[in-house]
Symmetry: C2
Subunit: 194 residues, 2 copies
């Protein structure tokens, strides 16, 4: 990525740096929201406009009534993508945190937005299940939740993500540092000291 | 409004002018989308970030499956409000064009966003019906469309809109000029020559 520092991506209107979508994808409990919430203040500290679109919050505001069938999941992810795109094209760094299990649907958002950085929060199923922060895996194993990603519904990992974060091997700080470094390499963030 | 020119509303992050929601409300065929589309390029020409959220387009992307019951209309308007607010707080001038017939729901968006400019496109029913651009009034009168605003469903006009546009008495250019003037008065737009 030696080109990176010479190819800062700027907005033609304002001359400031372009927005982008940082699309965190991974299993329930992988750490998507936690990482997005950890990255957001750092980016704000660097003077950037930042929004976090959390999967659960977006379901409340945009997708109430949708379930977890493939069609409903796709609709939910497409809505997040649509809103993220509106923000991104107005200079915002948008961090989304939704399981977004289907490769084709994520690729649809990539095609919509262009400035799309896919971040695979690659926490293995057994680690997510051992954490079970919301108690959902236990309920899924008990058959109380149908269509649970990783248990009874597929998760299709990205084939060529811009970044993979093995959260079971890296500290949170190391994960945040990798996100920032990747944004710098891709020209969406000015390196400090540059 | 003599305070206006000394109270430009700036964003604390960037020092640039704040975003706002220009909420066009009125009957079907009143001219909401037409005016929003006419105002948008002028604002862009003044260097502002602008998004138009058209009611029909938003229904497609965010509210597919919703009908025209009071509850579904409210959900649709709340979704537009939520997305408009996300954009507005990131410095965008957001122009929405949805009938948004219920006062309480519009006031909900006002409370959410703060920077909310309610523009009543006050074209009388008989003028809208005579225009009948989409042929909807004819179908509503024939009973083919239930719950049609102004015919079989209420429209609650704003009590204290920031601006009222009687499109049947003013040219399109005059309406656009009034919107710009009001934005300047309210501190959301720098007057030309200032």
């Amino acid at each position: 990525m030696h080109l990176a520092e010479t190819s800062q991506k700027n907005d033609p209107l304002t001359g400031t740096q372009r927005g982008a979508i940082l699309w965190f994808t991974g299993l329930s409990g992988a750490g998507k929201s936690t990482l997005a919430e950890a990255v957001a203040p750092v980016l704000r500290g660097r003077g950037r406009r930042v929004e976090v679109l959390d999967g659960d919050e977006v379901r409340l505001h945009l997708s109430k009534g949708l379930g977890f069938s493939r069609e409903d999941r796709d609709t939910n992810v497409q809505r997040i993508g649509y809103v993220a795109h509106l923000l991104q094209r107005n200079g915002v760094l948008v961090l989304t945190a939704a399981i977004s299990p289907y490769r084709a649907t994520r690729d649809w958002v990539r095609g919509l937005a262009g400035d799309f950085i896919e971040i695979h929060v690659a926490t293995p199923l057994e680690v997510c299940e051992a954490r079970d922060v919301k108690g959902l895996y236990r309920r899924a194993r008990a058959g109380e939740i149908k269509e649970f990603t990783g248990i009874s519904d597929p998760y299709e990992p990205p084939l060529h993500p811009e970044l993979t974060l093995p959260t079971h091997e890296l500290s949170r700080e190391a994960c945040v540092a990798r996100v920032l470094q990747r944004l710098e390499e891709l020209g969406y963030l000015t390196p400090t000291g540059a």
